[in-house]
């Protein structure tokens, strides 16, 4: 990649504000398409399912969990790198974080929202989901806090709140900067959002302190969220799910897929918002290294899981393992191994890491692989439980596939709206990486 000339402070503002206010037909086309797709492929099938029953999905008696829950875990996983990565990189003061973290955090937020929606879709009676929330009611019946599902509810609530706060606090100075450049309804909106930020040294200082604290809080929270998600499964005594390694396994998997998601997103942002000067090959290179590390870690834990099952000597564990490796879903399993453990090894070559297109391909493949992983965790274990007489096979139906595609479209929708409201690149932090502005601009 050619090295672009570093922009000036003013250019930063111009560029970023331009992404907010200048909207071309292509944007509307994209938004319209995404909206349409999400309505047709997500909301309509969901409505149909609400009317008739979850039986529209391919789930059946031993496989009571199917792709909806896999979607949930997938989106939760995708949500993981945004805020978590941003927080980790903030604490370790990696300068290359600054151009990407805003979008990454937005990804977290939206992925979380989609994940919660997936829970709605998954439930047999979605209209009673509020029963799982702790609020005083006349039945004097509270939710069951012993349930790992309730850990989930609490963890996701905390994570959603935490990452929104983190995103918002970090964006206040940029809201202020945008406030001064726009007029009309936007002016009012950003005036409200910026809370009267002036950029005084005191404000900057408080922001810095608060932001660091938030980052410190977000990291254990994010880790706990995916651990808790893993406990939904690991706390059962189902062979193939009942593994102590599940929490780290899920966390690593989540960061892995999240990081890959960031790479994909960065590629798209850079291409469609012409942010070549902010998102550079350095970023891709660094993320590539991270991906390589994560892929190795992920592969290691995967092997660990397989070995513990194997060593257990229990018929149920070994059968589940056998089924995973060589059974009905074996093509999926080996596909996952290929996508998540073998292909990413190519990242060891620097050329691969710095070539945008290879990075895009690898990151997309990783996320496909990670989706397969989530699906396999559920299907291979639930279809091979303790009583062989009750074994069964699960295949997703068209409704499920449509809802997954629809949820991706919905995510894109959210994101497209987001980039028009929140500066998708943190202006003030990008400026920090630039030279002090020239006297004559």
């Amino acid at each position: 990649m050619r090295q672009l000339k570093k922009p000036t402070y003013a250019q930063v503002n111009d560029d970023i504000v331009r992404t907010l206010v200048e909207t071309g037909p292509r944007y509307y086309l994209a938004l319209g398409t995404a909206l349409l797709v999400s309505i047709v492929l997500f909301f309509l099938p969901w409505y149909y399912q609400l009317r008739t029953g979850v039986g529209l999905a391919g789930m059946n008696q031993p496989n009571v969990w199917g792709s909806y829950l896999a979607n949930f875990v997938f989106w939760i996983g995708l949500s993981h790198s945004g805020t978590l990565l941003s927080a980790v990189l903030h604490i370790t003061q990696s300068p290359w974080r600054k151009a990407i973290y805003r979008s990454a955090e937005a990804m977290t937020l939206f992925a979380l929202i989609i994940a919660s929606l997936c829970l709605f879709v998954h439930l047999g009676r979605s209209w009673f989901l509020h029963w799982a929330l702790p609020y005083p009611n006349q039945m004097e019946l509270w939710p069951n806090f012993r349930s790992p599902l309730l850990f989930d509810v609490m963890a996701i609530t905390a994570y959603l709140t935490g990452s929104s706060v983190f995103l918002y606090v970090g964006a206040i100075p940029d809201f202020a900067a945008v406030r001064d450049r726009v007029c009309g309804w936007r002016k009012n909106l950003y005036t409200l959002l910026s809370l009267g930020w002036r950029g005084t040294d005191m404000e900057w200082h408080r922001l810095g302190v608060a932001y660091t604290f938030l980052a410190v809080l977000i990291i254990p929270l994010a880790v706990s969220v995916h651990s808790v998600v893993s406990w939904d499964f690991a706390m059962s005594i189902v062979p193939g799910l009942h593994h102590t390694v599940f929490a780290p396994y899920f966390v690593v998997g989540a960061i892995y897929s999240g990081t890959a998601g960031i790479v994909t997103m960065m590629f798209l942002l850079r291409k469609y918002f012409s942010l070549e000067s902010y998102i550079t090959t350095t970023h891709f290179n660094n993320l590539g290294k991270l991906l390589l590390l994560l892929s190795l870690l992920w592969a290691y834990i995967n092997m660990l899981e397989i070995f513990t099952g194997w060593y257990s000597g229990s018929s149920a564990q070994i059968e589940t393992l056998n089924y995973k490796l060589f059974g009905y879903y074996a093509p999926l399993f080996w596909g996952m191994v290929l996508f998540c453990a073998i292909i990413p090894l190519a990242l060891i070559v620097k050329k691969v890491r710095t070539s945008l297109i290879t990075m895009l391909i690898i990151s997309v493949l990783i996320n496909i692989g990670m989706y397969i992983e989530r699906l396999l965790i559920l299907t291979t274990s639930l279809s091979r439980k303790y009583l062989p007489d009750y074994w069964g096979i699960y295949t997703p139906t068209l409704v499920e596939i449509s809802i997954f595609i629809g949820s991706v479209a919905l995510f894109i929708c959210f994101f497209l709206v987001f980039v028009k409201i929140v500066p998708s690149v943190s202006m003030y932090e990008v400026k920090e990486t630039l030279d002090t502005p020239d006297r004559r601009r």
Binding site: T8, Y9, A10, N13, P134, E140, W142, P143, N144, F145, R146, S147, P148, F151, M154, A155, T157, A158, T161, G162, V165, F166, V169, I172, A177, D180, R181, L195, G196, W197, R198, G199, T200, D201, M202, E203, W204, H205, R206, L207, G208, V209, A210, F213, L214, L217, I218, P220, L221, S224, V228, M427, Y428, E429, K431, E432, T436, P437, D438, R441
Partner: protein
């Protein structure tokens, strides 16, 4: 008659120099506005550390306690044995406690930040859009004409591009 002076600089070091100069001359109410956080400004202006960490700490403590109490308390309101487990099992409730703890800590940190940074601004305060782009501003409150003159000199000497004299809006412009 009190007034406020706003000096605009192109370079951070100039602004810092002006700030240092002003402080040395005895000005107390100085704010430095910048498009990015400036390092070293705390030493130059002699800022104290903030109270945010206390908010976070106590938020965390409250949350941990509240989480556990929520789980344990609601379970004892209506005894429903499940799975042969105790009504108040420690490990699962610690998870709840942990999540609520972090949630409260996050909210407390946000609250602490807003309080200590005096945000949201409830009344009008001086600022200039340039400092959000590429200028560095110094806002200083002068209690008299003489003070203002002295400050103006110091700011210009540091290399300010522009100086504006503004109406005095009260003490709230500069917060520690």
């Amino acid at each position: 008659m009190a007034a406020e002076l706003l000096g605009l600089f192109s370079h951070a070091d100039q602004a810092l120099k002006a700030a240092g100069g002003l402080r040395d001359t005895g000005f107390q109410e100085i704010s430095l506005m910048s498009p990015t956080p400036l390092h070293g400004v705390e030493q130059v202006l002699g800022r104290k550390t903030s109270a945010i960490k206390r908010f976070t700490f106590f938020g965390m403590l409250t949350g941990l306690l509240a989480g556990f109490l929520l789980a344990a308390g609601t379970a004892t309101l209506y005894l429903l044995p499940t799975g042969g487990r105790p009504i108040i099992p420690i490990p699962p409730y610690l998870v709840i406690s942990y999540e609520v703890g972090i949630l409260f800590a996050v909210l407390a940190t946000l609250f602490g930040f807003l309080v200590s940074a005096r945000l949201p601004a409830l009344r009008e305060r001086h600022y200039t859009p340039e400092t959000h782009i590429d200028r560095f501003g110094i806002l200083v409150t002068c209690s008299s004409e003489q003070d203002a003159e002295r400050a103006r000199t110091i700011i210009l000497a540091a290399g300010a591009e522009e100086i504006r004299q503004l109406e005095y809006l009260g003490k709230k412009s500069h917060e520690q």
